[in-house]
Amino acid sequence: MNAGIKTLRIDGRDVSARADQTILQVARENDIFIPSLCYLEGLSPVGACRLCLVEVKGASRLLPACVTRVEEGMEVTTRSERLDAYRRMILELLFSERNHICSVCVSNGHCELQSLAERLNLTHVHFPYRYPRLPVDASHPRFVADHNRCILCTRCVRVCDEIEGAHTWDVMGRGIEARVITDLNQPWGESESCTSCGKCVHVCPTGALSEKGRSVAEMAKRRQFLPYLTMMRTQAR
């Protein structure tokens, strides 16, 4: 037996995996749906949104599929009443946190938060909406950052750091006050490190980062570059 290959069971299905794969990767390969938001193939996983939590037999806690490595004989359950309820609540928390007004959003119809809500049967948010007053940064000549739509998945932070190598984006503040910032919280348009490559805009799952000149529902994101870049880089090594 090859030590680098593991077999495990996901939702009762026997699947095989490379030892360095995560539960989420293997599930995707096998067309088993596990919701995710902060995860994006090609970026380092951070386990922050908690939507991908799954039950693993013998584990005392729920485990985030995006960062949990497969193990021989693992028994994973990706759907249960409890998981469904938790996932819906997490989505509700996101919707209640800021001002996601889908109907007037540039990403209406192309938004991962919106489509996950639909997919997970979220018909309303029963937690009180918080309605924070948040800025919109339109100082960049080509892009806009609308903090009302940001879910703090940090994909922009990671793509800028890990792929573009500019590290323009980071997170400032704690807890409910946390916000993504450019440089040292300078307006995006005045950022000296930003290369205007637009990668952040296209990995952003919502309408938080968008291209200027797009109106409601016009901002579809193109992510193809990411697996392509990653592939080129790993093969070049």
């Binding site: 997490i90 918080r130 704690r174």
Partner: protein, 545 residues
């Protein structure tokens, strides 16, 4: 410094100390300092000088003597007189009494009271006795003998075996078996390993670690160095919050002294073993006490936790195998090596061995720092050591574990203090904060206070904690103000369950504990708020109706 040199230093120091007939110990830990003990010390020194008594009596600054509420504290040795609330004006009376051999009655603090009798000091064995700024005193008190014993008489495996036998569990909150953690790091084949001491101590009201660092810093260095020897590390970090300037200063002094004496640094005590310690300052975020956030912070990154596994033992500082323990955990090590694991394991309960240091605060007569054997009951701590509830009020609840813990009501006061029993009550041992509340405390307002803390300290990385703590706080705030609706209790429970089971790190997972435990034991107070009344009479719930 070799073993012989160490013994010689100890002898010389003891001889020098016995040259003077008596010592006045003035507490110079933060609490007494803030009550003015520096001025007291100065006045005493001046008084002795003026009376030409310096060859007869020496004044020395020492660490915490425990009864902080009676500070500034001064103790006269060898008589054993203890004086409280001392002012510089008391210096003449105190010096006179030394000659007369009779205590100053009006300042006397009885030392045969349960506050002192019921304690058992291992971690704090030197606190209040040695000058934390002098290495020689620590050595004279037996310090560094354990390190040299480990280095010269024991293999790393022997050390780990003793720690395992001792049953010591982490004092940073979670109570993970220390021996097991050490052996995991020791087994790692990583060529580069680190030892980290967690001195972030962010719980509001907790000051156990600060007291240990301010009173006996060498003990922590010794514990860390023994750990490094056991696991095979050559570099260590102490992560201290910058709000503890005195602890930081004393640690730095201690590191310098130990290095100069060859007890730290290259080729310790002439053996091939080398170990270096650096102090790193934290900027005061509670979450930076969480081990993965702490390591990120040491590395110079934003202090946010990351999912575990991998645990630090496998993937720690800069990706290397790292041992991380709490201050008090390390402070137990010299005793364990000195007396043996068996000896240590005889103290405490079946699952929780040794002692625990608590910061006793809130509505009790005696507040301060105490060290008690595991297994002592909460009642003994509060009523005997703590001296009960002041002002004729009634006990209501005691909060252990700070914002991550829960409150325990009267009916459970006979519970023995150990990791499992406290957890079964919906609270936790935590790092050692113990806050006593009387009947004038509104439990809904208490939960709100802790959630305000957790909401402010959440790092914001994961959704359940970032948004969930904000909702919990707002629901509680509305309850306190009398603006809540009937749905709110169900929502509190629902959110608490979500946070507990889906948050990324311990902060979010345990943030609901103050809500859940007050809902469990004081649900009627929540219901009263819904009906527009506060049973403790402290919230103005009616005002908004």
């Amino acid at each position: 410094m070799t073993l012989e040199e160490l013994q010689r230093t100890a002898q010389e120091e003891r001889a020098s100390q016995s040259k003077v007939a008596c010592h006045l110990h003035v507490c110079t830990a933060a609490s007494c300092l803030s009550a003015g003990s520096a001025q007291v010390k100065q006045a005493l020194e001046q008084e002795l000088a003026e009376r030409g008594m310096r060859s007869f009596c020496r004044v020395k600054g020492v660490g915490c003597m425990g009864l902080c509420s009676a500070g500034p504290l001064v103790a006269a040795h060898p008589e054993g007189f203890l004086y409280g609330r001392v002012t510089p004006e008391d210096a003449p009376d105190i010096t006179r009494s030394l000659v007369e051999g009779r205590p100053v009655r009006r300042l006397s603090v009885p030392t045969d009271q349960p506050f002192f009798r019921r304690q058992l000091k291992l971690v704090l064995e030197n606190a209040g006795l040695v000058d934390p700024e002098r290495l020689e005193e620590y050595i004279a008190a037996g310090g560094y003998a354990s390190l040299l014993k480990a280095l010269t008489e024991m293999t790393p495996q022997d050390v780990i075996r003793e720690v395992t036998i001792s049953g010591l569990r982490g004092r940073g909150g979670a109570g993970y078996p220390t021996g097991l953690k050490w052996s995991t790091v020791a087994k790692s084949t990583d060529a580069e390993k680190y030892v980290v001491c967690n001195a972030d101590e962010g719980d509001p009201g907790a000051f156990m670690d600060r007291a240990v660092l301010e009173s006996d810093p060498h003990r922590v260095l010794e514990g860390m160095t023994i750990a490094a020897y056991a696991v095979g590390a050559r570099h260590g970090f102490i992560y201290v919050r910058a709000e503890y300037p005195l602890a930081v200063a004393r640690l730095r002094t201690a590191i310098r002294q130990a290095e100069r004496a060859g007890l730290l640094g290259n080729r310790i005590a002439g053996t091939p073993f080398s170990f270096h310690i650096e102090v790193r300052l934290g900027a005061g975020a509670f979450v930076c006490g969480e081990e993965t956030a702490l390591m990120a912070s040491i590395e110079g990154r934003r202090g946010t936790p990351r999912p575990r596994p991998p645990y630090p033992a496998e993937y720690g500082l800069w990706g290397h195998s790292t041992l991380i323990n709490n201050v008090e955990t390390f402070a137990n090590i010299p005793v364990i090596v000195r007396e043996g694991g068996q000896w240590f394991a005889r103290i405490g309960t079946a699952t929780s061995k040794g002692t625990k240091v608590f910061a006793l605060a809130g509505r009790v007569v005696n507040t301060g720092l105490i060290e008690v054997p595991m297994g002592i009951s909460l009642r003994e701590i509060i009523y005997e050591i703590g001296g009960g509830i002041p002002d004729g009020r009634r006990f209501k609840a005691v909060q252990t574990g700070g914002p991550s813990g829960g409150c325990i009501p009267e009916e459970h006061l006979d519970t023995p203090v150990d990791y499992e029993s406290l957890a079964a009550l919906g609270s936790m041992m935590g790092s050692g904060g113990l806050i006593v509340m009387d009947d004038a405390t509104c439990m809904v307002d208490l939960a709100r206070f802790f959630l305000e803390f957790s909401k402010g300290e959440s790092c914001g990385k994961c959704v359940p904690c970032r948004v969930g703590t904000a909702h919990l706080y707002e629901l509680l705030d509305r309850l306190v103000k009398g603006e809540a609706d009937g749905e709110s209790l169900r929502m509190l429970e629902e959110l608490s369950d979500l946070l507990r089971h889906t948050s990324l790190c311990g902060l979010g997972q345990s943030a609901p504990n103050p809500v859940l435990s007050t809902l469990r034991y004081f649900r009627e107070e929540y219901e009263a708020h819904l009906a527009g009344r506060c049973l403790a009479g402290t919230c103005r719930v009616g005002a908004n109706r």
